[in-house]
Every structure is written in structure tokens, then in C-alpha cells.
């Protein structure tokens, strides 16, 4: 019986793997295409194509090269990397809590990071201090949300409710800080309230890239243990996973990844929420970290392209585009949960 089934199982595995690879390659191609499109058409300056291509790689000189290489290229890369970080963090949280709604943006963790980043910015801190503060703020909010919703274990729905409340408080604090800081321009203010990529530069790209590599390596190390979580805590422990330590570490990691991305772009909402379920649907399995990361990148680059070029409304903050697209997805996930249970 088992002998007959094993080849079938192996075949299924192989199909699954091929499907994952195909999807990931397609997503990668989509990212490349969208990023190229953003560099080529977004922004107000009209630049000829033959000037654009060398300029995008930092060759060429003159104003056009400067505009392309110092504003458009880093902006597209920041969108890509921040989206990837949001996607990865959301996927991590969804798997660890066991509920699609429990992502760093819904739980108020991104809002906490934004409030902490704004707080040090108004004090005149710049550079890496902003990232450190954002990570600390995110970890503080995450700890608060989990502690407050602890009642003989964590119920995901209480987690979401408490997170919505804490997030509202954190956003109010951000708005307070932004309105108090008199030199803050409208665009910068909106970046910290709803997320915008207007101020992206190469420094941000560097920080995001380092964080993404760091997070991926840590995730790779813990991936075997994380896979056993799907079997339930008891079975995972029996298989040799240190359940509570691994879960704690992974939750910290997720909050940190979302916080670094937020410290560069502001709280771009609903990307973390949408990426995981969308990736799971594309590759037809739930532990698709790579696909979730790529989907996150696709969403933010596409949203930023839309925010800069859409007729009638552009330019607008990227976060408002992702919210208008992503919040209906929250409603969809909420309603669909009914059929699951």
C-alpha cells in the first residue's frame, strides 16, 4: 500500500516544487519589468531613452543622469526591498500566529515603528538612529500587544483587536508629533502617517538590502523548525524544535523586518497582510516564504508606479494606494474565514 503510494507522493512533491519555481521566476520577471517601468516613466522630467539606460547604471553625466541615478533608481529599489521585507514579515507572522489577519500592519507594529521613528526625527536625530528607534518601537508595541492579549495562550482574534487599538493610539501619537514639528513638509508628514517613497535615497537602499539579507539568512537557519510548526506545538516539540524559543525569536525577527522597512518608507499598510495569502494561492502551499517576499515586492513597486503615474490622482503617497487595494482584501479574508471554519 505504502509502496504504491510513495511514487505518487514523490511525483506530487516534484510538481509542487516545479510550480513554486515557475511562480517565483514569473514573480521575479514581474518585479524586473515593473522596476524598469518605474525608472523609465515615473517622475516629471522627460528624459530620452538613450540617455536613460546608461544613467540608470550610474554611467553618463549631466542633469538627466543625476535625476535618474539619484532619485528614480533608489526609489524603485526602495519600493522593491521594502515590499519584500513587508511580505516576508507578514508571512512569518501569519504562520506563527496561525491566522491570516495577524500581520505587523494590522497588529499596530508598523504604526509603533513609525511613531518611534517620528519621535527621534523631531528630536533631530538622523541616519541609523532612526532605524534603531523604529525597531525598538516595533518591538515595544509587539511585546505590548502580545502581553495584553495573553490570557491562557494567545487568541488570534483578541490579538487583532488589541492590535487595532494600540495601532490607533500609535498613529495618533505620530500625527501629534508631525503636527508639532513645524518644519515638516506635507509630504514628509504624510510619509510618517501613511507611507510614501518620496524621500528614498541610496542610503535607504543599503539599509534595506542588508536587513533583507540578514533576515533571509536567519530564516534559512530556522526554516526546518518553522516547518514543524504546521504540525502543531506538541508534535513540533517532539521533533526536536524548541517551540517557544523559536516562536519568540521569529516574532521578534518579523517585527524587526517590518520596522526597518517602515523606518525608510513610513507605514505602508496591508502589504504584509495581502502577500502571504496571495503567495499561498499562487504556489498552492502555505509555507511559501520566498513567494510571499516576491509578491510583497511586486505589490509595492506596482503601487508606487500607480502612485506616481496614475491619471487624475498622481502624485500621491504610496501607502494610500496600498490601503485602497489592500483593505478590501482584509474584508475578503475576514468573510472567507467563515467558510473555512
Amino acid at each position: 500500500m505504502t509502496d504504491a503510494l510513495l511514487p505518487l507522493l514523490a511525483l506530487g512533491r516534484r510538481r509542487e516544487r516545479i510550480r513554486s519555481i515557475v511562480v517565483c521566476v514569473a514573480l521575479g520577471a514581474a518585479i524586473l519589468l515593473l522596476t524598469a517601468a518605474e525608472i523609465l516613466i515615473a517622475g516629471s522630467a522627460d528624459i530620452a531613452l538613450d540617455e536613460m539606460i546608461p544613467a540608470a547604471f550610474g554611467l553618463g553625466d549631466g542633469l538627466a543622469a543625476y535625476v535618474v541615478f539619484e532619485t528614480r533608481v533608489p526609489r524603485a529599489l526602495v519600493a522593491l526591498l521594502a515590499g519584500a521585507l513587508f511580505g516576508l514579515a507578514g508571512h512569518l507572522y501569519q504562520r506563527l500566529v496561525g491566522n491570516v489577519l495577524a500581520t505587523p500592519d494590522i497588529l499596530g507594529i508598523s504604526a509603533g515603528a513609525s511613531a518611534a521613528a517620528t519621535a527621534v526625527l523631531t528630536l533631530g536625530v538622523a541616519g541609523i538612529g532612526v532605524q534603531v528607534s523604529a525597531v525598538l518601537g516595533a518591538l515595544g508595541v509587539a511585546a505590548l500587544v502580545f502581553l495584553l492579549s495573553w490570557h491562557r495562550g494567545v487568541s488570534p482574534y483578541r490579538l487583532v483587536l488589541v492590535g487595532i487599538g494600540i495601532g490607533a493610539c500609535a498613529s495618533a501619537i505620530t500625527t501629534y508629533l508631525v503636527t508639532r514639528a513645524d518644519e515638516m513638509s506635507v509630504e514628509r508628514a504624510l510619509r510618517w502617517m501613511i507611507g510614501s517613497l518620496g524621500g528614498a535615497d541610496w542610503n535607504g537602499v543599503r539599509v534595506l538590502l542588508i536587513t533583507l539579507v540578514f533576515g533571509s539568512v536567519l530564516l534559512l537557519i530556522g526554516s526546518r523548525g518553522l516547518r514543524t510548526f504546521a504540525l502543531g506545538d506538541d508534535l513540533a516539540a517532539a521533533l526536536g524544535t524548541r517551540v517557544s524559543r523559536l516562536r519568540f525569536g521569529a516574532l521578534l525577527l518579523g517585527a524587526g523586518l517590518a520596522a526597518v522597512a517602515t523606518s525608510i518608507t513610513g507605514p505602508i499598510g496591508f502589504v504584509a497582510l495581502v502577500s502571504g495569502p496571495l503567495a499561498a494561492r499562487l504556489v498552492r502551499r502555505t509555507d511559501a516564504a520566498v513567494a510571499a517576499t516576491l509578491v510583497g515586492a511586486v505589490i509595492v513597486v506596482a503601487a508606487d508606479l500607480l502612485a506616481q503615474t496614475a491619471p487624475f490622482i498622481s502624485p500621491v503617497p504610496t501607502g494610500s494606494i496600498t490601503a485602497v487595494i489592500g483593505a478590501p482584501a482584509l474584508i475578503y479574508l475576514l468573510v472567507r474565514g467563515r467558510r473555512r471554519s
Binding site: 487583532v160 493610539c169 504624510l190
Partner: protein, 358 residues
């Protein structure tokens, strides 16, 4: 020898008498509480008149209110033409939101319900903004009709979503998450409408963050709507008491459930629309007002409605004064203060076992 002589059948009148005494002392206490709240409201209003960028002595405030000072006096002008309408606006908006919160909590049987949390205020604000930017609507009394349409539509959408999702999570949770999602959509749409131009942004920003600052002139146009809503809420006390027990029980008690649910929702929406048309979205006032009232008088909605209205009014008055007194340049929008006070209360309520059974 019986321990409770009044319960013996030989003496039927004594029990009634005792009950009457009990009821009347409770009633008296509730009336006294209401008077206490009224006094608190008056004190809040006086503080609101006296404190601000320029502090004015309470004696001068009272004199200028009674017209005992020369009308061209600077401080009199500040009190009568600027602070007085603002205090009245805070009073009216706070009372509307508090009352609306009580009704929404009773109808949805949800302790987390609030016109702001459920996204209904943002729906009203979005509709008003559409009216201003696309149809050239001007004046707070025309804003009201747009706000009414917007909040009614949003309320229907939120209820429909939470009905659809009811079996997945509990009804309470679905309602709040649906409200949060709708708030996110509407807030972003508002930003999309006003962000293009710095001047437009500065001018219309109160439709994204509610504030009393510079909105004093609105009172002349909005008071009939708010007052009408508050008066319409008066007969709702008894039906809400029945509805709070659940639809089946209310029907068993002989209540026309659908009709009262609809009229209750209509009144709540009217109050929310009046408040939003006046000052923009101010969340958590309804939640805080309703729960403070519940702490003070318990679950009887005939009392909860006036208590909730007064608690909301006091809350908004004091929050507004606090916003004026905070150090720093300019004034803080009152919606920020109510969110900072209200969100922790929301979290405390969300932790309760009534909301999410463990």
C-alpha cells in the same frame, strides 16, 4: 419567626412599599448623578471659556457672559465671539457622539461599537469632501446632508460585512475589523482627494483629523440637526432596553424589533452625521461616553442615553481645553487627544472575556 417578614403572604402591601422605596431612592440617586454631570458640564464649559492662548479670569468670563462689560472690550470679544461658540460646539458634538455611541452599542450588542471605530464618521467625512470638491457644496447645513448619506451608506456596509463574516469570528470581532478596514479605505480615499495640493491639504485637513479649532462658526448652522437627533433619541430608552437582551427576547416582550432597530440606527446615524459635518471625524468619544455612563448608572438605557450624552460632552470639552493648553506651537486637533485617551480604553475592553471568549 420568618427572617423576611415582608415576604409572607399575609402582608402583601409591604413588599410593594419596599420595592417602591428602593426604586425611588435609586431614581433619586440617578437624578442627582445627572445633576452632578450637568454641573460638571457647566464647569467644563467655564474652563473652556477661561483657558486658552490668553487666560481670562473667571470673574471676567461670567461678567462678559451676562453682558456686564463694555461690548468693545477685547477679553469680552474673545469670550463671546470665539470661545463661546467653540464651547457650545464641543458640547453639542460631544453629546451627539456620546448618545450615538450608546445607541450603537445597544443595537449591535457590542461593547466596542463607536461611530469612529466602525468607520461611520470617516464615511460621513468622505461624502462631505466629495460634495465640496466635486459638487461645490458650501456651508455646514449642506454638509450635513452629505454626511448623512455617507454615514448611512457606511453603516449599512459595515453591518453587511459583519453579517457575512459572523460565523468566522464572533460578531463583535467581525464588526470591529470590518470597521477598521473601511476606515483604512476611506481615510486613504480622503488623503487621495486632498493631498495633491498643499493649499487644499491645509484647508481640508479637518476632514481627516477632526478638530474644533477654527470651526466655531459652524454652530449656527449645525445645532438644529444635532438637537433634533438628541430629541429623537429620547423615546429610544425602553426599546433599547429590550433590544439589548437580544432579538428573540425583545420579540417575546412584544417589541416591533425591526422597526425599532431601524429607527435606532437612523437616530445614531443622524447624530454621527451632525457631529462629523460640524468638526470632522472624532473617534472614541462615543465609546468613552457610553462606557463612563454605564459605569455610573448601569444598563438601563432610559438613563444611559442622557448620561452618555453628558459624559461625551464633558469629555470633548475637557479634551479640547487640554489640546489648547499643551505646550508647543499652535493647537492640537481634538481627535488626536480623544484617540490617545480612547484607544487604551478600547484595548482594555477588547481584553475582556465578554468580547473574545478564552
Amino acid at each position: 419567626m420568618p427572617v423576611v417578614p415582608a415576604l409572607t403572604s399575609s402582608d402583601p402591601t409591604t413588599l410593594d412599599d419596599r420595592l417602591n422605596v428602593q426604586v425611588s431612592t435609586r431614581g433619586r440617586r440617578r437624578i442627582l448623578g445627572l445633576l452632578g454631570l450637568l454641573v460638571l458640564t457647566v464647569i467644563g464649559a467655564l474652563l473652556s471659556l477661561a483657558l486658552g492662548a490668553r487666560d481670562i479670569a473667571p470673574g471676567i468670563v461670567v461678567e462678559s457672559l451676562f453682558g456686564l462689560r463694555p461690548s468693545d472690550d477685547y477679553e469680552t470679544l474673545v469670550v463671546v465671539t470665539e470661545r463661546m461658540p467653540r464651547a457650545l460646539l464641543a458640547l453639542l458634538v460631544g453629546a451627539s457622539l456620546g448618545c450615538s455611541g450608546v445607541i450603537m452599542q445597544a443595537l449591535t450588542r457590542n461593547p466596542l461599537a463607536d461611530p469612529g471605530v466602525l468607520g461611520i464618521e470617516l464615511g460621513a467625512a468622505f461624502a462631505v469632501l466629495i460634495g465640496i470638491l466635486l459638487f461645490g457644496v458650501r456651508g455646514a447645513s449642506s454638509y450635513f446632508w452629505w454626511a448623512l448619506a455617507g454615514s448611512a451608506v457606511t453603516a449599512c456596509i459595515v453591518l453587511a460585512i459583519s453579517r457575512l463574516a459572523r460565523l468566522a469570528a464572533s460578531a463583535t470581532i467581525s464588526l470591529v475589523i470590518a470597521g477598521a478596514a473601511l476606515s483604512a479605505i476611506l481615510g486613504s480615499l480622503i488623503t487621495l482627494l486632498i493631498v495633491r495640493d498643499t493649499a487644499v491639504y491645509a484647508h481640508y485637513n479637518y476632514w481627516s483629523v477632526g478638530q474644533l479649532n477654527g470651526r466655531a462658526g459652524v454652530i449656527d448652522e449645525i445645532w438644529p440637526f444635532a438637537l433634533a437627533g438628541l430629541l429623537l433619541a429620547v423615546p429610544l430608552g425602553r426599546p433599547l432596553n429590550a433590544l439589548a437582551l437580544g432579538e428573540e427576547v425583545a420579540e417575546g416582550l412584544g417589541l416591533a424589533v425591526a422597526r425599532w432597530q431601524l429607527s435606532g440606527a437612523a437616530v445614531a446615524v443622524v447624530l454621527c452625521a451632525a457631529a462629523t459635518a460640524a468638526v470632522g471625524p472624532v473617534a472614541f468619544v462615543g465609546l468613552l461616553g457610553a462606557h463612563t455612563a454605564r459605569l455610573l448608572v448601569g444598563g438601563d438605557h432610559r438613563w444611559l442615553l442622557p448620561y452618555g450624552a453628558l459624559c461625551g460632552a464633558v469629555l470633548l470639552l475637557l479634551a479640547d481645553v487640554a489640546c489648547r493648553l499643551l505646550p508647543g506651537n499652535g493647537e492640537l486637533q481634538v481627535a488626536i487627544a480623544t484617540a490617545v485617551i480612547g484607544a487604551p480604553v478600547f484595548v482594555a475592553l477588547a481584553r475582556g472575556r465578554r468580547v473574545v471568549p478564552a
